[in-house]
Symmetry: C2
Subunit: 179 residues, 2 copies
């Protein structure tokens, strides 16, 4: 079922086109089975998200290349957000389907991303109030909203330009706060 859903999201341009019926049909399964397995559309989306992000997540948590203690926290933060950006673009239709629904900020994925980001920020800027890191993490992640990224791409900004701006902004914010 996840494979079928993934395939559908990968091909369809409009996430709304991928209905639960379509997924069930593509998976050769009844709609009831789909809902029993995932509870709701959001549940399916979250599960699929989890499946796709596993590699990234494990890499980050088990200290793959850039995420080792030797790397300065700021660089780890930049690398982390860059990987999130790449991940979102690679799965843009899925992400779009999930992000254009309310409750995203309460989802486990957002909380994970936010937790990671906040921790890296706290590392990167020496001392800082909790609310400072909390706010900054939210603010940095907000700029990664898929709609926003796609809007920028559509408006002529190239992907390298976006990545460059994003990296620059992260450094600026951290440096500025650290002073």
């Amino acid at each position: 079922m996840l494979a079928a859903a993934d395939a559908l999201f990968a091909t369809s341009d409009v996430p709304g086109d991928v209905t639960m019926d379509a997924i069930a049909a593509a998976a050769g399964v009844g709609k009831g089975t789909l809902f029993r397995a995932f509870g709701s559309r959001d549940g399916l989306l979250d599960t699929l998200w989890a499946a796709k992000i596993t590699a990234l997540r494990e890499g980050v948590e088990s200290g793959a290349p850039p995420f080792v203690a030797e790397t300065p926290p700021l660089e780890r933060l930049v690398a982390f957000l860059d990987e999130i950006l790449t991940f979102k673009l690679e799965n843009r239709h899925l992400i779009r389907a999930r992000e254009t629904r309310s409750g995203l900020l309460q989802s486990a994925h957002y909380k994970w991303m936010h937790g990671q980001t906040q921790a890296l920020i706290e590392d990167a800027m020496g001392r800082s109030t909790a609310s400072e890191a909390l706010y900054t993490a939210h603010a940095l992640l907000a700029a990664l909203h898929i709609d926003l990224i796609e809007e920028m791409l559509a408006s002529g900004l190239s992907l390298p330009a976006i990545r460059k701006e994003q990296g620059a902004r992260v450094r600026t914010v951290i440096d500025g706060v650290r002073r």
Copy 2:
């Protein structure tokens, strides 16, 4: 009709509860009339948004108190984003109803906010590439998403704290880029 819709949004907690039928009923008008007048739900939402933001918009465009040439651009930028934040919170249900639909970034309101922000940024930091200001404007506005603000409020961050963080972030970003 706008008054009726406004009243409904002001009272209801969940924006989804305010259906087009409910608005029509509250306005003492047929649903057909509603759709003939506004075209679609988004159309109504945008019109209502326009009506509510008029004061702010006129203040900004006609140089009310903080938006005069004498005020440093950076201060104008901070004030502008702060007013947007206040406006969104004052009309949180309406804004929520509109912001949790796709196409927001293509709406006239977002374009106006983005245009204003970008112009102020370009003023505030001496020289800067166009993409720098464009990106930064998007990034700053992204942190004003109503869902995000409400999530922060729910997580214990106070409104004054948010405003303080936001102001600090704006200054940091501009100062950092200006160097």
